[in-house]
Every structure is written in structure tokens, then in C-alpha cells.
Symmetry: C2
Subunit: 286 residues, 2 copies
């Protein structure tokens, strides 16, 4: 496995692979890799002859009060994990390599960040889009792999890549969960044992919403039931949002007439946890 700390090294490694006729998959991560990330790596390896994983805790997507400094950075373990999974290139640049001077350029998507996580994390998705644009330009992948857990991110990045003609396909892979349903996340490490016991309520409440919507309940009714379930089973959690939205526009849907996404964010101790579930409702008949 090639480990690149500089953009030039990463470009050279990808360039060699391309010259050898291999197509290129990119898995962008902030490190602290878990089975969710490894499933993205598996998907890339299944589809592409060369898999690059970027490991970069991007400062520009963290708010001033967020967990940039405390975010876990177990680089040695991450590199060992990548090596074990057959990653071809691990690109782990420093912040100074990615931002050699104060960046003046921002890639921003309008509208789509005005809901869900974007509402309480102003500037977050501009930071994400900007660093993803940089990574796309450095690696020039054929396919890029994101997790469904970061649902809003995947919708926004896909729109950004299409609007700017990046030419890379954005592939969204299923959320990987612990046995009790908790979505895997690097931030789960922040949970105390008591909070960890409460955390599965997020997924359980989304499954409740799925059932209620299939039974014909409105979004408001489903959301109220989710909030009630969370209050009961995750009493230490502070709900940021519970929403039922259109999978493309992210607009709130009141009476679903087709697939929707039930999504929520809960602050549980130090961890801001997010999760979502695509609810496969059939389209209403004409």
C-alpha cells in the first residue's frame, strides 16, 4: 500500500494506476475508520481496479463550538486497517498540505443545506463540498463512495459533482450498524456506557416511523411518535431534529406519495449522533 502525505505523491500514485489502465475509486474519510468505512472500501474494491482512501480531518467543516480538536485521529490503526483491506493508496495529508494559505475559495450548494443537519451546522456543507472538490481534483476518481448514514452529505455532494461536471459517479452505500442497530460512527467513541445503552433508540425510532408511514400515518404523526420513543428510550438525548423528507430535494413531506427519508439528529452527551432510514413507500396511484 502506498501512503502519500503530499498531493504530488497522491497524484503520482493515481497517475501510475491510470496509465496501467485501472479505474480509480475514492473513499473520502476523516479517519477513525470503522466497519462503515471498510464497507465503502469493499465497494470500491469490487468496482474499481485501484482504491484510494483519503484520511483527513477537514477543519473547514467544523463549527467553532464543534469537536475538531477532540476528533479521534488513530492514524497508525487506520493505515493498518487500510493495508489489511487491500487499499492501494492511503492519502493522509496535513492541514498545511491541504490549505497552504488561508483558503479564499468556497464551493457552496444552495437550498439543500438549509434543512436537517445544515440548519444547526452553518458552513458545514460548504466545508465538505470544498474539500471534496479538492479531493476530486487531486485523485480524479471514476467513482466516489459515501455512506447513507451521512444522507444529507451524499445528496449535496452528488448535486455539487453534477452541477460542476466533475464526471465522477457518487455511489452511496448502506449504513453499517452494530448488532443493536446503532449506526457505526467515529463519534460513538464519545459515548459513556449509559449513553451507549440509550443510543440504539435512534434506529429503533426510525423503524417505528417506517412502520407508521407504511400504515398510512402522516409525517407529523410519525415524527411525534419518534420523538416520544426517543424521550422514553434515550432520555439523556437532546433532539436536534426529526424530519421526513424528499430523498432528492430534502424538502419536508407531509403526506408521502413515494419514497421518503426519515432522518434525525440527537446530541447524546459529547456525541452528536445522526441516523436515517429510507422509507420505500410506493407511489400513490394516479
Amino acid at each position: 500500500m502506498n501512503v502519500a502525505e503530499t498531493i504530488a505523491e497522491a497524484r503520482a500514485a493515481v497517475g501510475e494506476a491510470r496509465a496501467a489502465g485501472r479505474n480509480v475509486g475514492l473513499v473520502p474519510t476523516m479517519g477513525a475508520l470503522h466497519e462503515g468505512h471498510y464497507s465503502l472500501i469493499e465497494a470500491s474494491k469490487a468496482a474499481c481496479g485501484f482504491t484510494a482512501v483519503s484520511i483527513f480531518v477537514n477543519p473547514t467543516q467544523f463549527g467553532a463550538s464543534e469537536d475538531l480538536d477532540g476528533y479521534p485521529r488513530p492514524l497508525e490503526a487506520d493505515l493498518a486497517g487500510c493495508e489489511a483491506r487491500g487499499v492501494d493508496l492511503a492519502f493522509a495529508p496535513s492541514a498545511a498540505e491541504m490549505y497552504p494559505r488561508p483558503p479564499l475559495t468556497k464551493v457552496m450548494v444552495e437550498q439543500l443545506p438549509d434543512t436537517l443537519c445544515g440548519r444547526s451546522r452553518p458552513g458545514h456543507f460548504a466545508g465538505v463540498c470544498t474539500v471534496v472538490a479538492k479531493l476530486l481534483n487531486i485523485v480524479r476518481p471514476d467513482q466516489v463512495f459515501f455512506g447513507q448514514k451521512d444522507f444529507q452529505q451524499s445528496v449535496i455532494v452528488r448535486r455539487m459533482a453534477a452541477d460542476l461536471n466533475f464526471g465522477a459517479e457518487i455511489v452511496v452505500c448502506p449504513t453499517v450498524r452494530e448488532a443493536d442497530g446503532l449506526a457505526m460512527s467515529s463519534r460513538n467513541a464519545y459515548l459513556t456506557p449509559e449513553q451507549r445503552n440509550q443510543a440504539p433508540a435512534l434506529h429503533a425510532s426510525l423503524k417505528l416511523a417506517d412502520r407508521l408511514l407504511h400504515e398510512g400515518k402522516t409525517a407529523s404523526e410519525a415524527i411525534a411518535a419518534v420523538r416520544e420513543r426517543l424521550a422514553e428510550h434515550a432520555p439523556d438525548g437532546e433532539i436536534d431534529y426529526v424530519q421526513i423528507v424528499d430523498p432528492e430535494t430534502l424538502e419536508d413531506v407531509q403526506k408521502p406519495g413515494g419514497p421518503v427519508v426519515a432522518a434525525l439528529a440527537v446530541q447524546l452527551g459529547r456525541a452528536r449522533l445522526i441516523d436515517n432510514l429510507r422509507v420505500e413507500l410506493g407511489r400513490a396511484e394516479a
Copy 2:
């Protein structure tokens, strides 16, 4: 010469050239080609094995009160001109091809657009950066050629390309002028004969600034002299700005201690004319 109206055609043509080992130059234009554009094409042909010219009047860089509808679009003549100069690919997409749905994504550079032309053209440079980002992703050139006449644009695009790691080199070529000094511009066609007679005063006044700065005058003194000269020789012109700025930061410079750029914009009838001159002052001795 290959003429592509779709992004897919353009990508295919460039891909073939690249597979044949040719490096790729891009000359982005809004058409209505003149000798200024052709000098960029010459520069590209001298440096690159394959030269692409894009011809696209980008609606997102025009303000509501600007000349989008009236902007000249002599496509046949432009294509003939490209063919005659040995261009390999003319990429002339429709607005619907470039913006198949309302674009939500913007590439914005901060600070640098807050002066010079950006001050009276809000959103202009975001439109420019966004369409240039699209063109860079479609063509993936090794070098991109811009004219010094659009000085602020070249500084902003260079910063954008560096910040986002586009990997293309931004090459800035000298302004091409009519015999009487008027900078070539597609908008010169808007001038009445009387306005055309006054227009050379722009370049003449910049040369005056150059002389005065070399004589040790301050920026304020030089600017006052430029304004006086314009009032006298281009009495129908409405001055938008006259500024002496740093070539990199675009900040106003009062007592130049190194190279500066004298820049101005004048509305002359229907035409908003811009021009600038790099003033090669030596650095002040320590």
C-alpha cells in the same frame, strides 16, 4: 476541427487527444472572437499539442441590468476563425447543455472580488469561477489561457484553481490592442464612431499613470491625473473606477514599493470598457 455541442462530445475529443499523448490547452471565451482571443489560441498552440476553445456566453456571470441578451454571438464566424487558426476542438454548448437544471452550486472566491470590477458587478466573479470550474472539469486541460485585459478575472481564477487543486496552469497573455491603443474587446462593437474616437483615452491615461508612478508620484496623484485626462479626452465616458492595486492581493496601494497594476473601467455609451497596465516599479531598497 472537431466542433462539440455536448459535454460528452467534448470529453470524447479531449480523451482521444490525451490517449494519443498530447497535452491539452484550453482557451475559454464568450465568442465574438477578436485578435485578443486569437493570441491566446496562438499561445496554447505553441505550448500544447491539442487546443480546445470554448465558446459560451455564460448567463450566470451577467447581472440583471447587463448586456446578456445583446452580447454578440457570431458563431459561424467564430468557428471559421478557430478553424483557420488550427484549433483542434471548438466546444460551443447551449445554455441548456451547461445548465440542464437550475444550478445550486457556486464556486466563490472571497475578498478578491470586493474591489475593481467586482464592486459594481456583484455575483459576476462567482459566475465566472463556477463556469470555469465546469470547463476545467469537462476539458481537464494542462494549461488555460486568459488575457491580461481581464486582470481581476485572471487573479481570481488563478486563486480558485490553486485553492481547489485543479492542477491546471493558468497562463495570462498580454493585452492585444488596436493601433491607437484601445484594448481589443467584443464590446468595442457597441461604440458609436464618436465614442470610438474617445476610447483610446483609456490606454493613454494608463500610460500617463505609469509615467507618473515612475516619477515617484503617489497613487492618489496618478489617479487624479488619469481622471483629468479621461474627462478631457473621453468626455462621454462615465468612470466606474480608477485604481492602483497590488498585482496579487488587489489591495489599493498608496505608495508603490514594487510592481502595481493601474486599472480602470469606463462606461462609454452601451459599452463598459476595462483596461489595465502593469507598472513595473522596482522594489524600494531596504
